[in-house]
Symmetry: C2
Subunit: 262 residues, 2 copies
């Protein structure tokens, strides 16, 4: 299994603190030693960093920790390989363009038989993971349903939820997805989130000897949501998504949830 | 105008030396202060680094210089904006997927009226440059002509040459392009290249007080070609491509050239 980390914020915010915690799980406090990746949106553009080295000893990860790149949407992933060998093209997040938007996809779980069952069309995988296959299938489905970006976002949210539920039938499908505007989090088995806003307090990292006083780092109007496979801090209350639930975040706020049908 | 830098090698090679020279032209020895980007292939995967800051003072560029990432194909670009504002989504290289391959495109020049004349279909630009528009158009043309990657590469080379000549009619179109296997260099006005092989000698950088003894850095079997808008070293003989000429490199060697029809 892998671990996911996402962030949505209303002002460009660095993710150094949470990223430091996550990276420890990449081979030190956790077994996810088969590569890692991070995508940071800057407007419609992205920066990406990735490595097939374990994150806790990756030179590129060290660079990202030291260089506080500020962003309103971040998606990160550390990998414990189960489908597809350990190499750079199999590291998440995966990226494709639709509607002149960069879509970013990071997945935690295994999707057995999804490769055989889900035919590909417009997008093809570069690597060999079931995750990238699922992403290529999913984005082609969205493209087919919405050749042009619709003006109202709700139909897309519904479509994404439906596609996630379909993929979930093939196995475990915890997902972080973005197209530069919204951050989508779909829970198959495990995904937690919290929103930090004024009055900001101190947070203590679970996986490294590090704490931070967010009051010193923020302004009173900042709203920052962090999403992770497991809570990253020990002294804050994290919300848990239900299996089958899609949460949609924008500018740090939860704007919608869509739950699985009974 | 902008500057291009490319590398093709038969063993993973770092581009620190040439990159250091190029980065000086990004605001110090040259006027290309409107961002920069670099894509490094590792097998079929890519790493990319980019910034909208001038390269000579970019923290990310500093990281790339210090961290010798080895690659067999590299494409880099420093930008002097003429079409499209200075922002991350307008930095080259641009990337799209076709045939399960990551295609990387970096352009030097201006293509007047190309946006109005060249209709888009499969791929849409994220930013506002004429370069990204041209890339989206070009890749859709290749996709249309070759829905599946052909077994023989020559028809693709011919198609790429023809598309480059078409784009060249709209203005200046110096290009570096790759799909993880070949590195393509099309010369509209200015593009130089050299191949370094045993016996390796010393090279002296034009734009920084730096020289390197490649004999100490290489093995006798290494073959490395560097392509640049203008020669990067003062003591080596660079080849010049003719206007309308496409050069195809693989594993450090020139494997084909296609010239403009008389």
């Amino acid at each position: 299994m892998c671990e996911l980390l996402g962030m949505s914020a209303n002002v460009p915010t660095d993710i150094c603190f949470s990223f430091t915690g996550l990276m420890q799980r990449g081979g030190r406090t956790g077994p996810h030693k088969d590569g890692w990746g991070i995508v940071l949106y800057e407007g419609k553009a992205i920066r990406e960093f990735r490595d097939s080295q374990p994150s806790y000893q990756s030179a590129v990860a060290e660079l990202v920790k030291q260089y506080p790149i500020k962003s309103c949407i971040v998606i990160s992933h550390i990998r414990q390989a189960n489908s597809g060998r350990v190499c750079l093209e199999n590291t998440h997040p995966f990226i494709r363009e639709l509607w002149g938007r960069k879509w970013t996809f990071a997945h935690n779980g295994q999707l057995k038989k999804a490769k055989q069952a889900l035919p590909l069309s417009f997008y093809l995988p570069v690597g060999t993971t079931d995750s990238e296959h699922a992403f290529c299938w999913m984005l082609a489905q969205i493209r087919q349903q919405f050749p042009v970006m619709p003006e109202q976002p709700e139909p897309i949210w519904q479509a994404i939820h439906q596609l996630c539920c379909q993929l979930n039938e093939y196995g475990v499908f915890n997902l972080l997805l973005s197209e530069a505007n919204y951050l989508y989090a779909f829970c198959s088995t495990k995904l937690s989130w919290l929103t930090r806003r004024a009055p900001f307090a101190e947070a203590i990292l679970k996986d490294a000897e590090l704490k931070i006083d967010f009051q010193k780092e923020t302004t009173p109007n900042d709203v920052v949501t962090v999403i992770a496979t497991e809570p990253l801090t020990t002294n804050e209350t994290w919300n848990t998504l239900e299996p089958g639930e899609l949460a949609v975040f924008q500018l740090g706020e939860l704007v919608s949830t869509i739950k699985a049908k009974e």
